[in-house]
Symmetry: C2
Subunit: 195 residues, 2 copies
């Protein structure tokens, strides 16, 4: 691989280091996957993305496509598979790219990393990155997909009210209390308001 | 507000347009919130983030802190509240910042937008952005939080095997089949492998 998206390979390493915090092998591989998927899309199609893992790959999608978590065009549905789909936002037809275990023979450092047969300390990171770069799309497979219609389009939050529990604005359709006050809060303690 | 993070207000508008696709009011407000939360953190603390909405705010966190979806330092727990927390990665103590409905009086365009009393077409976007910029932290509140320990640390995926259903690598702890083959796939159709 000489290029990933509009970046040279070296530029891409800089970009991911700045955004993600490290030259993560998963994000390098992810960049190659996104690039491959983009190449299979009809030009001009407005697309959304589904990422089947929360590890690394979502950041490649966010850096190389218009799809982000915050704009809603990227959804993470964590199925534990290192795979992504790009698909027509309205029709749901698109392409899915995944790491093909059957193609990893001969790429020993990738194999050991991907199947977690070596600890991070045992890995040779330079060799791993070199193999990922050299392998490129050769360890990927792709196929057409059609997305279930329930994942298409945006669902409106509907009317907003103040929660009688915490007093904060929330979507009324969530019930008499906001989801935080209904037991889904990730906090043990939330007190002493200031500011 | 003159600055958001290390950006001037105008630079920040450019950054969010490039990443998120538009000068979204939610992302402008989100930037102010993240900046406010960062100012409350002890210097040098390694922190993670929780975002209580999937709309806009996650992108402000990803752009202004080291926390991203793909590196696992940002978790989105969609409670429908426009709020975020930054907290010590190991101890779970941190700060939560939210939009305080009680402080929105007098900021009519923000009020109408935040409580969805005007359609997008009816909104005066320039006025809305000007009010968000002028209001700054005056419409926010903050307080200390302690995160439930189950949200601290990374959970290992454990051993990886090939799924007997789709043949793709997946975390064995998910069961005899991967979650995609166990009925959680977002695809209606996934066929004709190529590549």
């Amino acid at each position: 691989m000489e290029k990933i998206g509009r970046y040279s390979f070296e530029q891409y390493l800089e970009v991911i280091k700045s955004f993600h915090g490290s030259e993560s092998p998963g994000l390098v591989l992810g960049g190659i996957m996104v690039d491959y998927a983009l190449g299979q899309m009809e030009p001009g199609v407005l697309f959304d993305a589904i990422c089947e893992t929360s590890s690394c790959l979502p950041d490649a999608i966010q850096l190389l496509t218009p799809c982000t978590i915050g704009n809603g065009w990227l959804k993470v549905i964590d199925l534990g598979r290192f795979a992504l789909s790009l698909y027509d936002k309205y029709r749901g037809e698109g392409v899915r790219v995944f790491v093909d275990g059957g193609k990893l023979n001969g790429w020993e450092e990738i194999w050991n990393w991907f199947y977690k047969l070596k600890t991070k300390r045992e890995q040779d990171k330079d060799l791993l990155l070199a193999q990922i770069r050299e392998a490129g799309c050769a360890i990927l497979s792709a196929g057409p997909v059609r997305i279930d219609p329930r994942y298409l389009g945006k669902t409106s939050k509907g009317a907003i009210a103040n929660c009688p529990g915490c007093g904060e604005p929330y979507p009324q359709k969530d019930g008499a209390l906001c989801l935080g006050c209904s037991g889904q809060s990730p906090y043990e303690q939330m007190t002493e308001l200031t500011g």
